[in-house]
Amino acid sequence: MASGQKAARVGEEVWKTRVEKVNAELVTLTYGTIVAQLCTDYDYDYAQVNQQLDKMGYNIGMRLIEDFLAKSNIGRCGNFRDTAEMISKVGFKIFLNVTPTVTNWTADNKQFSLLFDENPLADFVELPDDGRAQDELWFSNILCGVLRGALEMVQMSIEARFVSDVLRGNDVTEMRVTLLRYIEDEMPPDDD
């Protein structure tokens, strides 16, 4: 797919030349600490923790998209398939240096999966052994929020959620992304 190759090239280029690198363990530990702290703060109510992570990600995404656009200098995507390629090969590439596989498209081209072979956020992590975390906590849920926030800023309303995670003992880490609708431009408020 042409757009996929182009995206891969752009991602590689930006990653090499315009991204400041930071120690991976620092990121992993920082994120891990946030999640662990949320777990204690919310008294191990994992549904709440997931929601908070999503909310934090949403706020990050709304900013991150600007940095993404400034660095990559790419324009609007023609369709949702291109968007998916951009997310995987440019977005994840330049911010986390991973390229999740885009797959499992639905026929209407509005839903796809991202398969994460590696997840820098979850290195070293073992979920708490309380019998619930394995079923309730989505450790990397912040990523869902990031995508939601970022895409909202480029006029796409989406829903993103994890459906499996290697931390839970699943074979793959999979995120499902669904396009809900395109957001119309806002009109200026009427004066009089």
Partner: protein, 163 residues
């Protein structure tokens, strides 16, 4: 090249930043035109004296109205991906740059200046993203310009325009 003014509009069509570099000698007392009806009239007829008389608030609305209509028109004629870069009157030139996140950068300069597209993009990349978006204390949205008018941003913008 002389820069007259500079505006940023966010995705909610609100003006979140404006700055004018007009010398104070331009002030006069012409009643402002109705912004919705004839956006560019004061520029054409009254020249710069007229535009200085506009209240700053009306000014921004006017510019946005112009840009918004032009953009809509351009897209109708040239397709969804088309956009306009600038237009020129006998008095000034308006430069326009829009990010995929629907933030609009508008700059008014004298008529002799060349394309400012790159410059506006640089302002977005090097000033706006760097000092507004990446400032953790600034809110994500900027109602009323909150968070945009910080010193670092102003200073870098000033430097950019002056050079």
């Amino acid at each position: 090249m002389v820069v007259y003014s500079f505006y940023i509009f966010d995705r909610h069509a609100a003006c979140i930043y404006k700055k004018t570099w007009l010398p104070s000698s331009f002030s006069s007392s012409v009643t402002p035109a109705r912004p919705s009806s004839q956006p560019s009239q004061p520029y054409v007829n009254g020249g710069l004296q007229a535009r200085a008389a506009l209240s700053a608030d009306n000014d921004a609305k006017l510019v946005f109205g112009t840009v918004f209509s032009l953009r809509t028109m351009v897209r109708k004629l040239g397709g969804e991906d088309d956009s306009f870069l600038s237009y020129r009157t006998s008095q000034y030139k308006l430069h326009y740059y829009e990010t995929p996140t629907n933030i609009k950068f508008v700059m008014l300069t004298d008529t002799k200046s060349g394309s400012m597209r790159i410059a506006l993009q640089q302002i977005y990349v090097n000033c706006y993203v760097e000092y507004v978006v990446k400032n953790p204390l600034s809110p994500v949205e900027h109602p009323g310009g909150l968070g945009v008018n910080n010193e670092l941003f102003e200073a870098s913008l000033e430097q950019f325009v002056v050079c």
